[in-house]
């Protein structure tokens, strides 16, 4: 599973992209965040305030209950400021 970070989430994560292999029980975006936040200090900080974290699965906006599978591209970012 490919994880992408944008904007200040990337600054906190210290990287823009990483490959991860969460255990089979991690089947939603919410569960993935729980699992990532438990991996290390930096990840814990990235997801410290989940109210300011948005996500996308395979380039579509996602919610905490959106399913994730091995092979998916999952992105985390702050609320967008386009236009």
């Amino acid at each position: 599973m490919k994880i992408l970070y944008f904007a200040w989430l990337r600054d906190k994560a210290g990287c823009s992209e990483r490959d991860v292999a969460p255990p089979p029980g991690v089947a939603t975006v919410g569960a993935l965040i729980d699992w990532l936040a438990a991996q290390d200090e930096r990840q814990a900080e990235v997801f410290a305030d989940r109210s300011v974290v948005r996500s996308a699965v395979n380039q579509d906006f996602a919610e905490a209950d959106t399913p994730v599978c091995p092979g998916d591209e999952v992105a985390f970012f702050p609320p967008v400021t386009g236009g």
Partner: protein, 148 residues
């Protein structure tokens, strides 16, 4: 049509190209968003999510064309480093009817603000910071919900 690019655009040329040879068009509305300087801004850098950006812009454009009878439409969004006064985004909508063109153009901008994966970092006299999303942008997007 949508484009995501680093380069500047020429609004007049884009409008002319979009409307050429279509005499059903009665009106063309357009909007150019510029880098605004509220004091001390040196530059603004737009980051985006390549791939998802194009998908989202295509969806936003398709939604506008579903809602209004447009003869043509265009979204051009820049990324990279911009300076105060530089153009960021261009939306153009052409229709037989002026109000359809106006409304669709307004809609495109409201949706871009909340649906297009861009993030802005401002560099000012006191360093750099990420621009927070605005709650009134969410409200502007929501007002189109009832009329879909």
């Amino acid at each position: 049509m949508i484009r995501v690019q680093r380069e500047a655009f020429d609004a007049g040329r884009e409008i002319a190209a979009l409307t050429a040879d279509n005499t059903r068009i009665g009106g063309v509305a357009s909007f150019v968003g510029l880098v605004r300087d509220l004091g001390g801004l040196r530059s603004m850098t737009l980051e985006h999510y390549p791939g998802m950006t194009e998908r989202q812009l295509e969806r936003i454009e398709a939604e506008a064309r579903r809602r209004w009878p447009l003869e043509a439409s265009l979204i051009v969004h820049r990324y990279g480093r911009l300076e105060p006064g530089d153009p960021i985004v261009l939306t153009v909508t052409a229709s037989a009817h002026r109000q359809a063109a106006f409304d669709a153009c307004n809609f495109l901008m409201d949706w871009l603000k909340t649906e297009a994966p861009f993030w802005k970092r401002e560099e000012g006299a006191n360093g750099e910071c990420w621009v927070a999303a605005r709650t009134d942008d969410d409200a502007a997007r929501e007002r189109w919900r009832g009329s879909g």
